[in-house]
């Protein structure tokens, strides 16, 4: 192979003027983490609402939440991102659209909102499965005790359902982190975009991608480990969840 390896590249000054190539990766990682964290919070909130709606007795609630899930699940994330970024500002009233287009950090806000909606469907489907996995008697028992539907959900069904779906939620959280990389198509300077920029500036392709790969691997291990700890700390004694 006539590829010139140069692992020292990360300590060289980057052509951006401030800091080294390594600093570029660090800022990329920061954007990845911030975007993923914001999107994940949004996904949890929206996903919980929609997931609960899908299990309510009301036919209207089931239909609305069902349509929501089908729409966000059957369009590729990249296309959804383009809709949020390029199409939405044009369809809004002119003054709103102009405000959106002039927003500072628009790629961040777009990826945050777009990814939040996209992942909320996954959360919703997991939560629905979790609620349906509970014995039917639990809902009936709650209602028979005189709890309202809202109380039955918040005191009886949801606390157990969330515990059951913690393992699949972990992989959805990992997916959220990985999917932030799609944001580079609209100019989000996250980790993959930074690795790509290093390649363009220095031609050291494989060093840059190896570094990004290692960072993603460590991030994965760390998140998996922390979620295990969470699983263990919230486990109900005598009740086997997940495993």
């Amino acid at each position: 192979m006539n590829y010139n390896w140069n692992w020292g590249i990360f300590w060289q000054k980057s052509p951006e003027g401030v800091g080294t190539y390594f600093d570029m990766l660090v800022t990329g990682l920061q954007w990845t983490l911030v975007t993923a964290a914001c999107a994940w919070v949004l996904a949890l909130i929206l996903g919980s609402l929609v997931g609960v709606m899908r299990t309510l007795p009301s036919k209207a609630a089931q239909r609305i939440s069902g349509a929501y899930v089908e729409i966000f699940r059957n369009i590729p994330f990249l296309v959804q991102l383009f809709l949020w970024y390029f199409v939405l500002p044009e369809l809004l009233p002119v003054s709103w659209g102009d405000w959106l287009k002039q927003l500072p950090n628009a790629p961040f806000w777009t990826t945050f909102i777009g990814l939040g909606f996209f992942m909320s469907v996954r959360v919703a489907e997991q939560l629905r499965a979790g609620i349906n996995a509970l014995p039917r008697g639990q809902r009936a028992a709650g209602l028979a005790l005189g709890l309202t539907t809202g109380q039955t959900y918040s005191y009886v069904l949801l606390p157990m359902a969330y515990r059951i779906i913690l393992p699949p939620l972990t992989s959805e959280l990992l997916n959220t982190i990985k999917n932030t990389s799609v944001g580079l198509t609209i100019g989000l300077i996250e980790l993959t975009a930074r690795a790509r920029a290093i390649q363009e500036f220095s031609f050291q392709v494989f060093e840059a991608f190896t570094a990004a790969t290692l960072i993603y691997l460590v991030l994965n291990l760390l998140v998996t480990y922390l979620m295990r700890l969470l699983e263990r700390s919230v486990a109900v004694p005598g009740y086997v969840t997940g495993k």
Binding site: M1, N2, Y3, E70, I71, R73, N74, I75, P76, F77, L78, V79, Q80, F82, L83, F86, V87, E90, L91, L174, K178, N179, T180, S181, V182, L184, T185, T192, A195, R196, Q199, V205, F206, F209, A212, T213, Y216, L217, N220
Partner: protein
């Protein structure tokens, strides 16, 4: 708000969008699914087999692929494949690899990790007694897997494999990062050439939705039919 829409542009570029773009997307999906299932099955067999080291290699590969974003993997192979080709053929310069071949290699290798997890679950869903019975009849490992375990595993996992194929179909839109003319790439090129982003991206979303939604409805029906037979 739809007043200054130019729906005509969609009609005018329809042949380009479908015969160039969608053809690329569908061919990539079909070939990568076939290759991914084949390689994924081999990985699953390696992982569940008793030959030392192989399970570790297979597990390492699957976990590595599953912890990386697809966009990064696409970039990796885009730059790596020419060097791998040079190494394999012993040429003096990195090999020229076309966009389609590069994408196909990427998606086959990447999706194989996901297909292998599905096939592993499928193989493990077959009771141990069946394998034992096969060996007791004097069948070899190859025969036990080929005639008893894998046919049933494929059948049990058919809906999940097809759902993963729909995911793969949607994922192929990410080849956009290589400026390849897949369906989204074609729509995007027209959109940027004529300044018609709204029409083209909305149309692309509708088409992707129609394809994926129809396919997932068919998978649901298949799932019901399989469930009744068993």
């Amino acid at each position: 708000m739809f007043a200054d829409f130019d729906f005509d542009i969609i009609l005018r570029t329809l042949p380009y969008l479908f015969f160039e773009g969608m053809k690329f997307t569908l061919m990539l999906t079909a070939l990568a699914t076939a290759g991914g299932i084949l390689l994924g099955t081999i990985l699953a067999l390696m992982r569940l087999g008793s030959i030392p080291v192989l399970p570790k290699i297979a597990a390492g590969y699957v976990n590595l692929m599953r912890s990386l974003p697809l966009v990064l993997v696409i970039f990796w192979f885009y730059f790596l494949v020419p060097y791998l080709g040079q190494w394999a053929t012993g040429a003096s310069r990195p090999m020229q690899v076309g966009a389609f071949a590069s994408c196909l290699i990427t998606f086959t290798l990447f999706e194989a990790a996901y297909f292998s997890e599905i096939m592993r679950a499928g193989i493990q869903s077959i009771s141990k007694g069946q394998v034992g019975a096969g060996y007791a009849l004097g069948l070899t490992y190859r025969q036990v897997m080929g005639y008893i375990v894998l046919p049933q595993a494929f059948r049990n996992m058919a809906p999940v494999l097809l759902t993963q194929t729909i995911v793969l179909f949607q994922d192929t839109s990410l080849v956009y990062v290589l400026s390849v003319t897949d369906f989204l790439g074609a729509a995007s090129k027209v959109a940027q050439r004529d300044g018609r982003l709204v029409e083209m991206y909305l149309f692309a979303a509708v088409v992707y939705f129609a394809f994926s939604f129809t396919a997932s409805m068919l998978v649901k029906r298949l799932q019901k039919r399989i469930a009744i037979i068993r």
